[in-house]
């Protein structure tokens, strides 16, 4: 599964993207965040405030409870500030 990061989430994680083998039992975006936070302090830092970081699956905004099965690309980013 490809993960991509933007803005300060990207800076905190320390990479723009990565391909990860996500273990079975990680069913939702919230599960994925919990699992990532256990992988190292950079993820712990990026996701330190629950509910701040937004997610998208295959270019569509999703909520934490969204299932990740079948996702090709999951993105994590801060609240948007364009326009």
């Amino acid at each position: 599964m490809k993960l991509v990061y933007f803005a300060w989430v990207r800076e905190r994680v320390g990479k723009t993207d990565e391909d990860l083998e996500v273990p079975e039992g990680i069913a939702t975006v919230a599960d994925l965040v919990r699992w990532l936070k256990g992988r190292g302090e950079e993820y712990e830092y990026a996701f330190e405030n629950d509910g701040i970081v937004r997610a998208a699956i295959d270019h569509v905004h999703v909520k934490p409870e969204a299932p990740i099965a079948g996702a090709r690309e999951i993105a994590f980013f801060p609240p948007m500030t364009g326009g």
Partner: protein, 157 residues
């Protein structure tokens, strides 16, 4: 296009500046059904004399897709005849334009409301992030999302 009343939609994400007069002409050329075009431009603005520029990061692919979804919602809500959305990315100096929205309709009310709707959703849903470049030459903080922008979206129900 059917009978000149088809919806003309243009969405572009680009580093280059845009020309509002040229974009408006492209939207209205050959159309006798458009009676109103509302245009909105957002500019790179200083914050208390601290900035030299803003840098805009975006999510390629999703930015276009999300703006298209916002445009579809506007088109289903108002009788629009044309929409143009251009959003820039990269390093933009103070006074440079960031975003252009053109909304065309037969009458002004739909055009005004659709342009406002598009901007409210663009600011909170389109995957762009601004960061400050400071006068002392350093790169400053990422701009924080504003609660007022979230409230602006809520009014559309």
């Amino acid at each position: 296009m059917k009978g000149g009343s088809a919806m003309a939609r243009t969405i572009r994400i680009q580093a280059e500046p845009f020309d509002v007069a040229g974009e408006t002409a492209a939207l209205t050329r050959g159309r006798a059904d458009i009676g109103a075009v509302v245009s909105f431009m957002g500019f790179c603005r200083d914050e208390g004399g601290r900035l030299t520029a803003l840098e805009l990061e975006h999510y390629p692919g999703m930015a276009e897709a999300e703006i298209a979804r916002i445009a579809e919602r506007a088109e289903s809500r108002w009788p629009l005849l044309g929409l143009t959305v251009i959003h820039r990315f990269g390093r933009l100096s103070l006074g440079e334009e960031i975003v252009l929205v053109l909304a065309a309709s037969a009458h002004r009310t739909a055009a005004f409301e659709a342009a406002s709707f598009l901007m409210d959703y663009l600011k909170t849903q389109a995957p762009f992030w601004k960061r400050e470049h400071l006068k002392d030459g350093t790169v400053g903080a990422w701009v924080e999302a504003k609660e007022a922008d979230d409230r602006a979206v809520e009014r559309w129900g």
